[in-house]
Amino acid sequence: MHCKNCGKEFCKGLWRENPIFFQVLGMCPTLAVTTKALFGFSMGMATTFVLISSSLVISCIRKLVPPQVRIATFTVIIATFVTCADYFLKANFYTISKELGPYVPLIVVNCIILGRQEAFVSKHSVAESFVDAVGMGIGFSAVLVLLGSIRELLGFGTIFYYKILGEGFENWVIMALPAGAFITLGFLVGLFNWLNSKLTSAHKI
């Protein structure tokens, strides 16, 4: 199998086409489960698993599927993997899956996944699709962990349950609430777009 653009396809998910910062997709889990870094990480891993496995399967069978039933087929495949991920979390990481609640089954409707299948996988080879899914998954997970870390740090004084801020720190309850998710995400999106514009304008000169 050849894969001439693999490096490029991998990197774009991390930065230039980052699903959260630049495509602004998958906002529901991004805002809902990032109260703590660990939950963000688990959610990112579950989504990455679904993204990679459905990309692999769909890129293998993409030529066999008639375009009329394309979406239905994709959805069935995605839903299957999501259910597997949900069962796996419930069986092996019971406490985490209780915290994530309905957001694991809701990966089915995460637009990053169906979006990648439609926009990329249905037109590219297996190897390219795989690399693209890995890049997008890592990019998504990294942002969830970053968002979760900031909110956990300010909201609870810890990161991954490790105490960072001392006793004198007063927890910002708002960071553990939905409002904190919106504020933090807004700042991060602004910051990264500003950084990106700086980088691209510097590149042109």
């Binding site: 069962y87 419930k90 069986a91």
Partner: protein, 185 residues
């Protein structure tokens, strides 16, 4: 016509494969999930009754109770209580002495209260108040001052709704249990 057949066959095959995959996943995961749920209950019961070595599940009328025992001697009843909190359901396990008058303790199993405020009901400081709490005539709560009577607890500051939810869920369930167990005697 060829198109239609292709569409039907592709969808059928995908559906069949998905179904098979799900069956195997379910077979692998379901026993583990049931185990987890059972463990959660077990842990909560042994946390409330640290001396207990066994417990038996029993269904009286429509409520499930667990008889916690130490070497055959009845230590008390543990029961699940569920109700609405400030933002979502609060589910807890509570233990009560065999005379049904004194609480042994509570454990919060599930809650979606405001983190840092209502969620304080899951903290040891709040839960410890239920140790040895009298349930007659009913549990009540006070705000911003230490409790005085043996059936009073102190509500979490700034989270009266969550605290009163815990109290009223317990009261309701205890009333039901008393009725059910008294009929049994």
């Amino acid at each position: 016509m060829r198109k239609t057949i292709q569409m039907i066959s592709v969808l059928t095959i995908i559906g069949l494969v998905s179904g098979t995959v799900l069956v195997f996943t379910y077979k692998y995961a379901n026993p583990l999930i049931l185990d987890n749920q059972k463990n959660e209950i077990k842990e909560a019961i042994f946390k409330i009754f640290p001396k207990a070595d066994t417990y038996e599940k029993d269904i009286i009328e429509d409520s499930v109770i667990f008889r916690a025992k130490e070497g055959g001697k009845l230590l008390g009843y543990a029961f699940l209580a569920e109700g609405n909190g400030y933002q979502g359901a609060i589910k807890m396990m509570a233990g009560i002495e065999p005379n049904l008058e004194t609480l042994v303790g509570i454990e919060i199993l599930e809650s979606q209260e405001t983190p840092g405020l209502g969620q304080e009901i899951t903290e040891e400081e709040f839960k410890a108040q239920f140790k040895g709490l009298m349930t007659s005539p009913k549990i009540t709560y006070v705000k911003n001052k230490p409790p005085e009577r043996p059936n009073e607890i102190r509500a979490v500051t700034g989270a009266t709704v969550s605290s009163s939810a815990v109290v009223s869920i317990l009261n309701e369930k205890i009333k039901k249990l008393k009725n059910a167990l008294q009929k049994l005697r």
